[in-house]
Amino acid sequence: MRAGLAVAGLAAAAMSIALARPGGHLLQAGLFVWILLAYVSCGLLAWTRRPESAFGRLMVLVGFGASLSTLAWSSNALLHTVGLALDLLVVALFLHVFLAFPSGRLSGPARPLVVTAYAVSIGLQLTVMVLGGFGPGNLLRVFDAPSVAEVVHGVELVTLSVLLLAGLGLLGVRLRAEPRAVRWLIGSFALGLLSLAVLLVLGLFVIPGFAQVQQATLAVLGLAPVAFLAGLLDARLARASVGELVLALRREPDDLSPCLARALRDPTASLLYWLPQYRSWVDHDGAPAALPSSATLIERDGEPVAAITHRPADRELLEAVVAAVEMVIDNGRLRAELRAGLLEVRASRARVLEAGRRERRRLERDLHDGAQQRLVGLSLRLGLLESRLNDDPAARQALAAAREEVATSLSELRDLAHGLYPAVLSGHGLAVALESAAAQATVPVRLEVGLDSRLPEPVEVAAYYVVCESLTNVGRHAGASTARVEVNRAGDVLVVEIADDGVGGADTTSGSGLRGLADRVEALGGTLRVWSPGGGGTRVRADLPCG
């Protein structure tokens, strides 16, 4: 089929030259042959390379369509008439091929524009001929009204010219949206449309330079396929990058976005996943992300599973990239889902801990203002009673016993309240609270607190518990003689470090209370680390975000 078309192209070229020879139109014929051969050969090449694209076929059609008008040079009346009738078809064909780049399909306003161009170039041309235009030899002449025909022809030329300029506008809109590599290609198409429009308008007047303008226009139009060939090569390069993408994806990278960015040659490109259970788009890290309107959706069973966000790109390249990504998307989606779940768990753990902290603080206040206060009042009254009592040894003894009982209850309540919430912390801040904790530790503590302002209370509480729990561990397990506590702010992070000179080898896995501390710290987005080499002391370090 394609070989046949190639032969037909050569035959058409030979025919054009043969037709031109008697009338001395050789230069013009040469230019038509140049267009014919350029479009047909480039079209066939594109057809071979990208059979799925209609663009190659369209170019072949343009090549042959251009040579049809040379039939008008024929001395045979029928061929001459056909040539005349199809003389301006090539204008619509050029418009069609330039607007259909690169898929070969028309979309949006380009479609009615091209359809109108076809209708005008055939319909009005036939009308002109029916009205007796283009002189003798026109077999379609029905009426002899050359002046009316001339007006209609003028309308035809101007209309086509306007349609070409509208096409030029569409190309201009596309130019901004296209990747840089394709822009100069679109630019060469635009030049072709512009010169054709100028040529059509000039055709209305009889001016001396018309032949030169026509030749220049034909030359420019013939150059477009060359530009397209270069574009095709560019597209082949892009397809090679899809090959690289497939290879890169086979290595199962954790994050697909960098591979996508390379393949699409768009550093902003990234992959988002749709997680139906969260009704949310998330990025590679599982963090919620907004879906831009320009994204390309990847669907499965009619449901979106992922989306590629990118700058406007070659559609076929995009399709190839989507096809490549589709194969490996499930793993990435599972990972993103896992991370989103992890984020959610972390957030809910933080909420639970924070709710617990508030509740404990409330309970401590209730205890302080309620039970503790009442018991203190009770013991005060017992004391007063005792001091006012006459010397009745039995009654005094009973009162003293009751007072002891209340004192024990108060002491237990005090421990309970302090265990619930360190009131000194909200009242006096981390530095004072740590000083008290250090003073009550079982070994002397070197305490260094470099803070010049209060921190969010959850952070202070976490830091306080890290220090208290660590100092308790020092007393219980470490066999240490001294400990060192340092609390400093490094930017937006509060660094809490407790070190002792004990035996080390602390059990960091379970039951040591360290797990609970780690939970508390991690819930705030921080980290807790423990170094406890045998014989080398123990060092606990918590990094708490406090920005």
């Binding site: 005060l380 530095a431 079982t442 070994v443």
Partner: protein, 220 residues
């Protein structure tokens, strides 16, 4: 002896007032918050103020700040702070560079009327009162080559009572010893701990507390 009371719980405030009145004090002011206390102290000039550490409006550090302000601006008014929590750091804040005429007791201590009244008198007279719970936790701590190991049990008792702010006479009364015997124990303790035995009874409290604490604190 003229005393001002600052305590937001009416029950406790009136109880305290009754207790101190019974003991022969002249209760000149009964305040519900720190601002009322400060104005009462500056206008009435009591010899001692008994102050709850947690008071309105925020129930955080108003009491402590008022106490520090009084020590700063009205040195003739002694301050006894009452708390429901054991917070050595707050006691040390109150003592700052002198423990004379200052005290920090748990509210529980009110129930032992005689002991409590004695503490108020001691503080009012320029002495010190430190809650025994604070002292015992300091004494109990392990130290490298603990110098406290060199003390006899009796010397330990004397040390704890000194740290709580008791005078030699007070120690003698409690331990049923003669004043001379107590003085002997005191100088022995100071010698074994390597503390300079200079300064009166009111100054030794802070020295002993700081020795017992043996923390190095570097405020930021």
């Amino acid at each position: 002896m003229r005393v001002a009371i600052a305590e937001d719980s009416v029950l406790l405030r009136e109880g305290l007032a009754a207790l101190l009145t019974d003991a022969g004090f002249d209760v000149v002011a009964r305040c519900g918050d720190a601002a009322a206390l400060l104005s009462a102290v500056s206008s009435l000039g009591p010899q001692v103020a008994v102050v709850d550490i947690r008071m309105p409006p925020t129930h955080t550090d108003e009491g402590l700040r008022a106490a520090i302000t009084i020590r700063d601006r009205h040195p003739s008014t002694a301050v006894l702070m009452l708390s429901q929590h054991v917070e050595p750091a707050l006691a040390m804040r109150l003592f700052a560079d002198s423990a004379a005429g200052a005290g920090y007791l748990l509210k529980d201590r009110i129930s032992d009327v005689a002991e409590f009244v004695a503490a108020v008198r001691r503080v009012a007279a320029g002495g010190t009162a430190v809650d025994p719970v604070i002292v015992s936790s300091l004494v109990a701590r392990r130290r490298p080559d603990d110098p406290l190991d060199a003390l006899t049990p009796r010397e330990r008792e004397v040390l704890e009572l000194m740290a709580s702010g008791h005078s030699n006479q007070g120690i003698a009364d409690r331990l049923f010893l003669t004043l001379r015997a107590v003085e002997k124990y005191v100088s022995s303790v100071f010698g074994k701990l390597g503390l300079p035995a200079t300064g009166g009874e009111s100054r030794r409290v802070l020295a002993v507390l700081l020795f017992l604490r043996q923390d190095q604190v570097f405020p930021g």
